[in-house]
Symmetry: C2
């Protein structure tokens, strides 16, 4: 049978109210009383009923995580990490996908599910700062990802420019000089992916190499098919890169399929670097060199930041919180060993 507050109160010889005060961490309990109640809690193995506790605080114990696409393994893996990080705080995650659609992102950010969630972690693509300015702040919000806004919400991301430069530098180190970028989004005025593109350009420029537009492949999305199309288009246009830095692993995998179809060997003819370190890149005929963002750190920072905001709504937010990343070198740049 479940141990109740009453059982603890009886064992400790105090009132239920006192036990409740200890469990809820109220200040007006003497240290001696706290120790006495804690002893009874430990002896009986009492676990606070979180649902009831949440109810008292007007909370549901649920936070939402809204990502552009669950079909993208990066977001599925990140979601898994957020679920794990939230579970450590006895918080459940409601997963939502926005399809990277501005209207849907606005809807989610305005908290149309405010009745059932305590807070929201949002990874936006198309959302504009103005969409968030008029926001009712009842539901704490934390932002993830490459988009940057100067707004009073904590933002968790890796340094995308520096990560992109690391990827390009690795290709330069392998003796490549005609390094293409795949994944410029021209379907959107926002250029949500502009940081990685900027990193590519900066690194080439610093190396004294040209960064011509002909070596930039536009995509309508960031899925495998988009990468394949962009790679085929670039090759068909007569541009022949000796390396490809792709916006993400899916685009890189699509590009590698086309290189394979055209008889171009990876990495000997064309070296390829992706971004995200999804599990898929560790398999395949040629494993994929990639930038690996620390998804566990992103998840942990996001959950902590959100819970902190929930507990201390008066505290300053709007911080930039950086997670680490690292380059993982595999066959698509090193060859088979």
């Amino acid at each position: 049978m479940r141990v109740s507050l009453k059982d603890v109160a009886e064992r400790a010889g105090v009132s239920i109210k006192t036990v409740s005060n200890v469990v809820n961490n109220y200040q007006h309990v003497t240290p001696a009383m706290r120790a006495r109640v804690q002893l009874a809690i430990d002896e009986l193995g009492y676990r606070p009923n979180l649902t009831a506790r949440n109810l008292r605080k007007g909370r549901t114990g649920i936070i939402a995580l809204a990502v552009p696409e669950l079909g993208n393994p990066y977001f599925a893996e990140l979601a898994g990490a957020v679920i794990d990080a939230a579970a450590e705080h006895d918080v459940t995650v409601l997963l939502d996908h926005t399809r990277g659609d501005r209207e849907q992102e606005v809807l989610v950010s305005q908290g149309f599910r405010a009745r059932v969630i305590d807070g929201l972690i949002l990874s936006p693509l198309e959302l504009e700062a103005e969409d968030l300015r008029g926001r009712d702040d009842d539901v704490p919000l934390v932002l993830l990802g490459e988009r940057e806004y100067d707004l009073p919400y904590d933002h968790i991301a890796i340094d995308n420019v520096s990560a992109a430069r690391t990827a390009v530098r690795h290709l330069l180190g392998r003796g490549r000089t005609r390094i293409a970028y795949l994944g410029e989004r021209t379907d959107s005025a926002n250029q949500p992916a502009h940081l990685r593109l900027a990193g590519w350009r900066a690194e080439l420029t610093e190396a004294g190499l040209p960064a011509p537009e002909s070596q930039v492949g536009a995509t309508g999305g960031w899925d495998r098919g988009d990468g394949a199309e962009a790679m085929a288009r670039m090759l068909d246009s007569g541009v022949r890169p000796d390396a490809v830095f792709a916006y993400n692993d899916l685009v890189a995998i699509g590009a590698m399929r086309v290189l394979h179809e055209r008889g171009l060997r990876v990495p000997w003819d064309v070296a390829v670097v992706g971004f995200d370190d999804i599990a898929e890149g560790r398999f395949g005929a040629v494993t994929l060199t990639t930038i690996s963002p620390d998804k566990q750190a992103i998840a942990r920072l996001a959950v902590q930041s959100l819970l902190n905001r929930l507990e201390h709504p008066e505290e300053h937010s709007g911080r930039e919180l950086a997670a680490a990343y690292r380059l993982i070198e595999r066959e698509s740049t090193l060859g088979r060993r």
Copy 2:
């Protein structure tokens, strides 16, 4: 400004109560009155406030979908399909993953989130019938997947035995006679994957071929790494199949990586068929022949079945609802054309 019930009532010249009766589809409204109110609704573009409506019915407008692993693209793709199917009914989906862990599946099935969800779609792996027998039926439940239970809950699945036989028949048709099966789970007494294994055995037997245990590769899970390990172990044991039928695409992809490392060409030396038709199988150096379950149909049937149970709790459930599947032939059995 949002059109309210009151606006509709004024336009139709009826009471708010009458409009509410029409909106909520109550029976005691005459057809004439219903038509009159509907006209006002259409003219004003009134949309019922679902949240308020749900509140009146004691509902949240949220259903949960619990799958073993979000990191498995099959479940991520299925989740996307369920989210889409639910959205058509203005229902939000809370996603949960159980890690295929019995305790977690019991917890989810017992409705520990009953306060916030109207119903549950569960894809179990380890759950036993006895775990569901004592279940409080307040929260409607629909089951998905290969596990079968003789219980009063609707169950949606494809015919796994017949699908597995189709895969093996395809390999036989390509002239293969030493067809291995990868993905037997020996870590669990339940053998949640026994249907596909049974289909493999039945089809070989019918073809007059042996189905020896040495051609069955056990795995600790169904991820790419599990497939790679099982393939390596089988080859190391001296068994040399000319084809592999894998429990799912991830296991097949892991196996193909090992075949590639060992210099065995797919499909010339070893043909490979997977199961699930995940997007990943359409790319890679060798695209993957696979059984493609109709995920949209599974999602649609699951949501409809759940909502039906919610509206008509008195109706009989415990139906077996079959979704379609088809074989998709690609390079891993046909070669490059």
